[in-house]
Symmetry: C2
Subunit: 274 residues, 2 copies
């Protein structure tokens, strides 16, 4: 395998705007690393689709990022991590980072009672990826999980508050509050964008955990181990945000989360739908 | 979902004879549970094939087990677990048990130094499933892994010793002995059948760990939780071993590992290749 060029960007991918929460953590920890972010807005939301469909969509986007010469792939989407991680690791000559296990690690560091809640899309919850990981390494934790299928739809419309969403949150989160969890894993990268609302429903004693910071640390570790980090002396690098569809909200969220790091021509860059 | 019938058998599946090591542990822990074992001998070995190919073969066999009315599926094959666990959990109305995380749990209980070795097929090692699981839950362990692609071929021929295999073991295991691991995960269910040879190469201070006992415990736990265990009072149940191909060795190994539990007509039962 040819060593990737340290000057090359990191490729970050999600179905929509959720992965921007991971990109933001990477931008904070590794400001000198350039990123290319792709939202597969032509095919989102992933959650209601079959594992096979999500795998096909996700690999098409990852293929395009590898063709553009990224030095690393970040699957900043729980549903896609569940669906295609093994395929991606087989298929590409660059490291592939996912988000499920960083979230598990964060949750284990944060819990005191060992009662952990997990919310995610239908695909992620049905895969039992979180339950299995907790059971494997911390068999005495008890995990309660709940799918929150419609959260992504609201976020992709730019809606993060209001009575309809609040009623939905109360309904979705009821099994978690009933189980008296002390940590809630936001097992979908979109959900940190609802942290205010989710935190209000769960109450101040429940810690919300997302994979973004731990994923950024994994990325830093791999770049260091492979000798492919971009030298910090070269100063801050930019983030190019693109999409496969035509979401109006994407640039709004990207501007809010990435600020001046966002490349101006993100505003018009479009990819062909795959 | 209709509650599965406690009288129904547990379906256990592998590419070949390796999963019999798991079936044996289940037979020991849960003697009153009937099992149907399918070896996909028409398509083994899985290790050298692509993730997509293994997924297709494995789901075809799992489909046939579900059609026969098993109450649970055990993917007693690391390569297939890596390739199709999320698909299987989505596809079937019965619980699906895999083998990677039980092995991780066993290794963490066994290691003292935190230096853990993992051997497996090409697919399993390339997926980084073990590295990720250890990194997620025990970040201070150090994991060294090595693919051992040809071990399965020897085992499927019934060969577990001899100079050629010894030379291969010395070559494959060299990175593990050099890394001074204190635990070696047998990350392919075939490998316990080479435990004598592997143990001799690694030396008496290295503990060999396989998923079989922990997987059997997972199965017991799920049957209890779902209320689908077969009552122990009904006495020992039998194991029907079948295959998609025509391996001569399968019944040899099955007889050795399952003894009188093996149903006599296993000798002639054949499935159509899928």
């Amino acid at each position: 395998m040819r060593r990737p060029n340290p000057e090359a960007p990191i490729g970050v991918f999600d179905s929509g705007v959720g992965g921007l929460t991971v990109a933001r953590a990477v931008a904070d920890l590794l400001p000198h690393e350039a990123m290319r972010y792709v939202a597969d807005s032509a095919h989102q939301p992933y959650g209601p689709q079959s594992v096979a469909q999500v795998r096909r969509h996700a690999l098409a986007v990852l293929d395009s990022l590898v063709d553009e010469g990224v030095k690393m792939l970040v699957i900043a989407c729980n549903s896609a991590s569940v669906a295609c991680l093994a395929d991606a690791r087989e298929r590409y000559p660059v490291p592939v980072v996912e988000v499920v296990l960083p979230a598990v690690r964060s949750a284990l560091a944060a819990t005191r009672s060992g009662r952990i809640g997990v919310i995610g899309t239908r695909i992620t919850i049905a895969s039992r990826a979180y339950e299995d990981s907790f059971a494997a390494v911390a068999p005495h934790t008890s995990v309660v999980s709940a799918p929150c299928p419609r959260f992504v739809d609201f976020i992709e419309q730019g809606v993060v508050s209001g009575p309809e969403l609040e009623a939905l949150a109360l309904e979705y989160l009821a099994p978690l509050t009933a189980a008296d969890v002390d940590v809630l894993v936001l097992g979908c990268t979109h959900y940190p964008l609802l942290a205010d609302l989710i935190g209000a429903v769960m109450g101040p004693d429940v810690r919300l955990v997302s994979p973004s910071e731990e994923t950024a640390k994994d990325i830093a570790r791999i770049l260091a181990a492979e000798g492919t980090a971009r030298p910090a002396a070269q100063g801050p690098a930019s983030v190019l945000v693109t999409q496969t569809g035509a979401s109006e909200q994407l640039l709004q969220w990207a501007g809010g989360l990435l600020g001046s790091r966002l490349l101006p021509h993100s505003r018009w860059t479009r990819r062909a739908a795959v």
